[in-house]
Assembly symmetry: C2
Homo-oligomer: 171 residues x 2
DNA sequence: GAACGATTTTTGAAATGTCAAAGGTTTGGC
DNA sequence: GCCAAACCTTTGACATTTCAAAAATCGTTC
């Protein structure tokens, strides 16, 4: 390696450090955000066109589907990462559509438990199957090994973020 | 390795294939979505507490900040991935706060161009600096090499998704 | 130069989202 | 038994979001 070549490499490193190394976290965040928006919009569009449902409704029903005995609204709020007040309205509309049932248990009258109706279960399982297929389609060009790697590494990001929250979210 | 041990390994592989290999794309999506929500909420909270601003307003101003001569609302809509109707209201409120100015150019009176006011520029650059720091903090536990890798691989996901959209989004 | 089609933004209805405050209910001392 | 603190959900005020339809303007064609 000649002297000029080695100097060149050093320069590249410096330049790279200034351009690509800077704000890496910011750039990752912007890319995560835009990708998530893109996928969300596509899922929204398909849920609407093929099932007449919305994404928040789908998310909420997904939680209820795996807890057949139902969930308290507060628990639903935590799992869907939606505020309490928002859950109230969502469940209200789902109940009006006959997909969800609200029950107040005898033991504690502060609590409201939401659970899927039979119609809700049928409706959700059809959507869930389609939903899974959409994701496979959308990510079809990505090597499964990379999908796996992404799943693991984003887990690290999530964990780091969880440990550096200013607010109240702890688990 | 005994026969029973080797049989065990095979079982693990099979089980792993059935459990972890299945629905990999779905699981990646759920993790991306929850991580993005987590970070969004944290940024929202800090923008609100420290600057009295909202995240959509911040996003919109970010686009205007790097186009000092201003942007048409339709262009703003594309770049922020927000619908046209939504941009109208966002710009309206930002204008009421004196952060953004709306101008109709002489050449084409259908068009509305939004640009930051001096106050808007000052306000945004303070927020942007803080914003970048928050992200570094939140991702502090993640190896920079992994951040870099994630940025690249999520780019692949985004590209794959873009090529498998049912709707109208093409570029 | 009147009319038609394309472009751009706004509007309106409904759903989702946040936050803070208010309403009930329960529980644990006293 | 009663009161205060804690717990759970709802409410109310706004901001954001989507979609579709309407409004305004431009360009072109005849």
């Amino acid at each position: 390696m000649t002297e000029s070549e080695s100097a060149n490499v050093d320069l590249e490193i410096i330049v790279q450090g200034a351009q690509e190394g800077k704000k890496l976290e910011l750039r990752l965040w912007l890319r995560m955000l835009s990708t998530t928006k893109l996928i969300s919009q596509e899922i929204r569009r398909r849920l609407r066109n093929e099932f007449g449902a919305t994404l928040p409704q789908f998310d909420l029903m997904a939680q209820l589907y795996r807890e057949r005995e139902g969930l308290r609204l507060g628990e639903l709020s935590k799992r869907t990462m939606v505020t309490n007040g928002n859950v109230t309205g969502l469940v209200e509309r789902l109940e009006a559509d006959g997909l969800v049932l609200r029950v107040t248990p005898d033991g504690d009258r502060r609590v409201t438990v939401a659970k899927l109706t039979a119609k809700g279960e049928t409706s959700f399982s059809a959507m869930a199957a389609a939903h899974e297929g959409w994701l496979r389609d959308m990510m079809a060009d990505v090597d499964p090994a990379i999908v796996s790697e992404l799943w693991r590494d984003i887990g690290e990001v999530k964990s780091s973020v969880s440990n550096h929250l200013s607010g109240a979210d702890f688990e």
